[in-house]
Amino acid sequence: MTRLLMTLAVAALIALPAYAGEFYINLASQILIAAVVAMSLNLLVGYGGLTSLGHAAFVGFSAYVYAWLTTKLGIGNGVASVSALAATTALACAFGLVALRATGLSFLMITLAFSQILWGLAYRWVSVTNGDNGLSGITRLAPFGTSLDSAAGFYWATLGVSFIAFLAIAAFANSPFGATLRGVRDEPRRMAALGHNVHLIRWITFVYSGFWAAVAGLLYVNYNKYIHPSALSIANSAEALLGVIAGGSGTLGGPIAGAALITILKNYASAYIERWNMLLGFVFLAIVLIVPEGIVPGLQRLVARRGDRKK
């Protein structure tokens, strides 16, 4: 039954451009990109138990590397993409080595500090990043010569990449490493006594999470054809975290649902409310105070409780 539903959902997604207008196709692309960001963050937060507030740094860094290589150095899009992925993964390796010396809240603070430093660099290092003007004039990848300039074309490419990301992360969740990671999240001392190298396991997860964030960064910069320092802001990291938590961390579908929710909210709210940050703040408060385990599990809990009361 679930298989059937999943197949129908995938079919509906592929067929989207046939029945939806350009606005909705673009919205769908944005949701997919947000979903990849959320899924990559969930590796760390949900499965690893390591809450990071610096994830936007990896997304943004990847975007900047691609932008800089193509616009300032004139390097081909394909090579630039691979370079962006490699550079961001290397950055994650380095960040991880330092940040994982701490755990819990200290880890959170360090990821936040790191990410803010990259954000500051993006603003100040004007000779490289163009500072507040951002880098524009970016062209989209054209895999095998196919142009991705149309909304539908880009959407399908993004759908393909997101699907691959989803499969990879689903495989991860079901793999021996995934089980080990969850064990480390729940009882690290026990896992060490059983022979698992806790530090290495966390570091590998951090790097892998950074890699998929880099993939999202490429999608992001190709979608917007522009990159600005605000992409690395705390607000973006917080949005990603909110998406993961809102949907329900530690599950496969939760982050996707959460990311979809936040993206849709952002798109519609910005038509009526100028102050998105304030709304985001209130949404944060609401979710943490009312349904901390995530909307999907939370709704299930609330429905179950009402059912009990009726009896």
Binding site: T51, V98, S106, I110, S233, A238, F284
Partner: protein, 289 residues
């Protein structure tokens, strides 16, 4: 030479302001294990309140009074935040962090709505506007005063923690919460007091930093990570660590911005990385399990 004097005093003043900000953060984190991400917003809010008050040019309201009033208002806001919101999330440090982040966003946008997008300058008080001249060199007086205030606050906090009953209770709470409760310390009141104190100092610091930074949108996002770096570097919950860390970061930031403006932010990294690599708990922190 004059250039260096200005830079040194700038960095000392910056370090002083940072200390005022970081000390509150460190106290709150040390005692309640809450990484209060609203702290930068408290600073900015204080800055705006002070700038607002001074803009009216009401006789008798000088920078010092504005700092006091802003500090009290922000302390009150902090108390409300702690009692009404953070209190609902006991034993959920992640939730508390996310909530403080949410409130930070709310305050940040609220300031934008109330005070607009343009920076509001805060005038240096007349009495200390003229530099102190020693020999051939001029020392910006206000910077000296800020350093003096930071040292005074450091000493007061130290005396508070080491010599008073309140301080003893705070230290007991930091060491072992359960035992502190068991010996009858009213932990919930203590938490609110410490949170208000931290918030209040941040708010007052915002006003004192006004003549140096002005009040502008984004001040919170600029100051918060610096406070975090100071606390990580110096060690959480350690006042001495916050003090020394603040001046180190103040110096690096000031000299870095002047000499290597492009990569000043990156240079801030280095001491933090070096310290964490060798001592994850920070220079003066105690290693927690």
């Amino acid at each position: 030479m004059q250039f260096w004097i200005i830079q040194i005093l700038n960095s000392l003043a910056f370090g002083g302001i940072l200390f005022l900000l970081a000390s509150g953060f460190s106290l709150i984190f040390g005692l309640q294990r809450i990484a209060n991400l609203t702290h930068g917003s408290f600073f900015m809010l204080g800055s705006y309140i002070g700038a607002s008050l001074l803009r009216e040019h009401t006789p008798g309201v000088d920078l010092w009074l504005a700092a006091l009033m802003a500090g009290l208002l922000v302390a009150l806001l902090g108390g409300l935040l702690e009692r009404l919101v953070l209190r609902r999330l006991p034993g959920n440090p992640l939730g508390q962090v996310l909530v403080t982040l949410g409130v930070a966003f709310i305050i940040s946008d609220a300031c934008l709505v109330i005070w607009g997008g343009d920076p509001i300058p805060v005038p240096t008080p007349r009495a200390v506007a003229r530099p102190v001249i020693v020999g051939h060199f001029a020392f910006p007086t206000y910077r000296l005063v800020v350093v003096g205030i930071a040292i005074a606050v450091a000493i007061s906090l130290h005396l508070l923690l080491e010599r008073t009953r309140l301080g003893a209770m705070i230290r007991a709470g930091v060491d072992d919460m359960q035992i502190a409760r068991a010996v009858g310390i009213r932990v919930s009141v203590l938490f609110t007091c410490v949170f208000c104190l931290g918030a209040g100092i941040a708010g007052a610091a915002g006003v004192l930093g006004g003549p140096i930074f002005s009040a502008y949108p984004g001040l919170d996002a600029d100051m918060l990570p610096l406070a975090l770096i100071v606390v990580i570097l110096g060690g959480v919950g350690s006042l001495a660590g916050a003090f020394i860390g603040s001046f180190i970061i103040g110096a690096i930031y000031t000299f870095g911005s002047t000499l290597f403006p492009d990569v000043a932010y990156f240079i801030l990294f280095l001491p933090m990385i070096v310290v964490i690599a060798y001592r994850p708990e920070g220079l003066f922190g105690r290693s927690r399990a």
